[in-house]
Symmetry: C2
């Protein structure tokens, strides 16, 4: 973990997700480990972002899974991510999440993997919500429902 | 929503989840609406619990979905819930969640629908975690992974 106290948002990376590497399902790796290491390095320049490894986000069928969360922000859980294919998109989405101010990244700014990989989202806790972004929630909702 | 300011935990109920009622998928209802109404009534005696309707938790394939969350608590998202089958279990799980102190309900106290229906979980934000419950996290994790 980055350990800073100025973080506004946190990128949780599940490092226990197992990815099967053969048909007999006896060989597997943990793709979240490489994602976590890469994001710690790539996002070290941004004190408002904290990167945390998590032992199980309970989305085991869609390795690897990450979660973006912050006090007053909408939370997003996104799966089907790999270090081989998605590092640039995870980094970009995390920066866009911080910039959104309230956790709702405008649809056109979301990487493809974050449009298709959403496992769940959740509002901020009551009384903690930040100002809404310019994009209306209803538009976001309908597109999210259609993509899932 | 209950609107109280003393809530320690929030039960979010997705009221936009569609449940298909025929094979052609042209008929559907929103099972979360009845769950939300029932939980508002059943949990009105507990000022530490707030019940909130949410317009889309983005878990559209597993209607209806709820989320349990609170400052310093682990968050749990649970799907496949209906008003016909699960009201007693949702109420019991919400009360057990509050009683857990940190959001991790001991496995033996979790209703079956909350063991099998977990969509995702997420830790509290860094620096906000409450004291761990008596049940070790590692045991919980392994059981959650096996059940998903």
């Amino acid at each position: 973990m980055s350990g800073n106290d100025k973080a506004e948002v946190t990128l949780f990376v599940c490092t226990s997700c197992r990815r099967t590497l053969d048909e007999t399902e006896t060989l597997f790796d943990h793709p979240g480990e490489a994602i976590h290491a890469a994001m710690e390095a790539r996002l070290a320049d941004e004190p408002a972002i904290r990167v945390e490894a998590v032992d199980c986000l309970a989305v085991c069928k869609r390795p690897a899974t990450v979660a973006l969360s912050g006090d007053g922000f909408w939370t997003y859980l996104v799966g089907d991510l790999t270090a081989e294919a998605n590092l640039d998109e995870i980094e970009a989405a995390t920066r866009a999440y911080l910039a959104s101010g309230n956790g709702i990244i405008p649809w056109r700014e979301r990487p493809v993997s974050f449009r298709k990989g959403v496992v769940a989202r959740m509002p901020p806790l009551p009384g903690r919500a930040r100002p809404a972004a310019a994009t209306p929630n209803s538009t976001i909702r309908n597109k999210e429902a259609a993509a899932s």
